[in-house]
């Protein structure tokens, strides 16, 4: 297995590599070193524009650029791209369905020591409410690169969610791996319960699967990189075939993947669905392992929720 790498690294590398192949521009708000757009800036300085610490303006500038037919990638931390600039995303980008690609890094609590003001656990929920928005939360650096190219080829606004924390490579050595927007991937099969995971929770879900197997529970694990549009087919099959689900995300349990899955299944195929994510609280400072532990983003918590979901089956 390749070494651990943050998905933001894959974002920067993708911009740098794809800059030759596709004609896009990149905007950042004084965070190029952290978001990794700095890698692109170095190679294509004439196509990189720092907007300073003014995310609202940056988002509407991106909309203007897209309105002239160019593709802008616009980057900041998730807190500022989806939070500070929410209204600009909605009104300048979303409403006219402009071809803007939002590369939001430092999502979730794995921002770490910076603490609650920078730990955005709400961005997926916010972006999901924007009609026509595509939301992608890659599982690893390799998938991040694939997602960037898919976003370029996709006509319309895309919210790409990247993390700061190094995560295991789960995809680059899989012969069956391919990336398609809106198409989830079964990482491992199982029959008793399905763990529907996204982002760094996927590798924890795979660990949970091992723990569950020891107790005689067979768990399927899905990687849902695209949260909108949701791969309803793969979720419905999981509900029908395994009868219980656990969602797992580094995001609030409100309005994210857990929200999307429960909203869908409540109408399509009501089965027990329990959610693992950040409960309705703010984050805080700490090392990433300590934070993941403190907020229940662990294989052990997924395992416990999976057991509980199985117990709820009729």
């Amino acid at each position: 297995m390749a070494e651990k790498m943050a998905t933001r690294e894959g974002y920067g590398k993708a911009l740098e590599e794809l800059g030759e192949k596709y004609d896009f521009v990149v905007l950042d708000a004084d965070l190029a070193a952290a978001t990794k757009t700095g890698v692109f800036k170095k190679k294509f300085p004439e196509r990189f524009f720092d907007c300073g610490i003014a995310e609202g303006n940056m988002m509407s500038v991106a909309a203007g650029i897209a309105a002239t037919g160019k593709i802008p990638f616009v980057s900041s931390f998730a807190m500022f791209a989806a939070g500070r600039a929410f209204e600009q995303v909605r009104n300048s980008v979303g409403y006219p369905h402009l071809n803007v690609k939002i590369g939001a890094t430092h999502a979730g609590i794995t921002v770490g020591e910076d603490g609650a003001t920078h730990q955005c656990n709400e961005d997926i929920a916010l972006m999901r409410t924007i009609p026509g928005m595509t939301i992608i939360n890659p599982v690893d650096s390799n998938e991040a690169k694939a997602a960037v190219e898919a976003a370029i080829l996709h006509e319309g606004p895309v919210y790409l969610r990247f993390g700061r924390y190094a995560v295991p490579d789960l995809t680059s050595e899989r012969s069956d791996y391919s990336f398609k927007i809106g198409k989830g991937m079964q990482m491992a099969d199982g029959t008793d319960v399905t763990i529907v995971a996204t982002g760094l929770m996927v590798h924890l879900a795979l660990e949970a699967r091992e723990l569950l197997a020891k107790g005689g529970i067979s768990a399927r694990v899905l990687n849902i990189h695209t949260i909108k549009p949701l791969d309803e087919e793969i979720i419905l099959a999981a509900a029908k075939e395994t009868g219980a689900l656990v969602t797992a995300e580094e995001h609030s349990v409100i309005g994210g993947l857990g929200g999307a899955v429960t909203e869908y299944l409540a109408a399509a195929c009501p089965v027990p669905v329990l959610r693992v994510g950040v409960e309705d609280v703010y984050g805080r400072s700490g090392t990433v392992p300590a934070l993941l532990e403190a907020y229940g983003l662990t294989a052990e918590n997924i395992t416990a929720k999976a057991r509980a979901a199985v117990a709820l089956k009729k």
């Binding site: 521009v25 004439e46 196509r47 524009f49 907007c51 300073g52 003014a54 609202g56 303006n57 940056m58 988002m59 509407s60 500038v61 991106a62 909309a63 203007g64 650029i65 897209a66 309105a67 002239t68 037919g69 160019k70 802008p72 209204e87 600009q88 009104n91 300048s92 409403y95 006219p96 369905h97």
Partner: protein
């Protein structure tokens, strides 16, 4: 400006004012005051200044216009209809269900609208993006935007002002419609955003101050703006809110209200009488 050209533009601006009143009256709501105050500059832009083609509204080399004060859509629609982007009759569908003419400009559905706006402060940023895009690809089109004076209370306007000067967007020309009134009263009473000229100057812009109802001054300002290199230009346009309809002039209550039938008749009579065409 020669007399025949001026007469032509005065006639157009008057027609635009009639279109504003027709639209807002039919809708039963909307924003006539700030629409009427920009009728002269908008008429000049669409009939003299900008390279646009109603037959090819998406032409890539066209000049762009962003109505940052998007609530004055009735004026934009009236001038677009006057210029032939869509039938004038359609102005009467303003704000109605299934009409293209949304309460605020919608670039997806209305021919000639280059950016969806309405939330104040966002339009000037989008205009900056368009101007930057032209610089990146070496295109020669120019970008125009019109802001409200009250709109300048939005912080994003000044983020955009910084941006435009930083990237030397001399292909961008903004205009602040300085009519002095906003919904809650005089802009200087609500939250004083003045002085506009000194602020924009401090932000690195070329500043031109005009009477926004004087076509000679409007022409001189836009002509001068085109010659300025290395910095964006802002025209501070001193105007009269409600210009052209006697009872609406300088009356804050006409910021966002539609005339009743009698008031409508008076407005049309005044405008067709040619009394108030700037």
């Amino acid at each position: 400006m020669e007399a025949t050209k001026k007469q032509k533009l005065q006639k157009i601006a008057n027609n635009v004012r009639i279109g504003i009143i027709e639209g807002v009256y039919s809708a039963g709501c909307g924003h006539p005051g700030g629409s009427l105050s920009i009728a002269d500059v908008m008429s000049y832009l669409y009939f003299e200044e900008m390279r646009v083609d109603p037959k090819d509204p998406r032409c890539p080399t066209r000049d762009r216009f962003v109505l940052s004060k998007g609530h004055t859509a009735p004026c934009l629609y009236a001038v677009l209809a006057e210029r032939g982007f869509f039938p004038k009759e359609e102005l009467k569908t303003l704000r109605k269900i299934d009409s293209r003419l949304q309460g605020h400009p919608d670039m997806k559905h209305i021919p000639g609208v280059d950016m969806s706006t309405g939330s104040l402060g966002l339009g000037i940023s989008a205009a900056c993006g368009m101007a930057l895009s032209a610089k990146v690809s070496g295109d020669s089109y120019r970008v125009y935007t019109v802001l409200g004076d009250g709109e300048c209370q939005e912080g994003q306007v000044w983020e955009a002002a910084m941006f435009a000067a930083h990237y030397k967007l001399d292909n961008l020309c903004a205009l602040v419609d300085f009519n002095g009134l906003q919904i809650d009263g005089r802009i200087t009473d609500v939250m004083d955003p003045t002085p506009f000229d000194k602020k924009f100057e401090a932000f690195g812009w070329n500043v031109i101050v005009i009477d926004g109802h004087d076509l000679d001054q409007i022409e001189a300002a836009y002509t001068a703006a085109r010659a300025v290199k290395g910095k964006p230009t802002v025209i501070i346009s001193n105007s009269t809110k409600g210009k052209g309809v006697s009872y609406m002039e300088n009356a804050v209550e006409w910021h966002g209200a539609a005339p009743k039938e009698e008031q409508y008749k008076i407005a049309i009579a005044e405008l067709t009488g040619g009394k108030c065409n700037g």
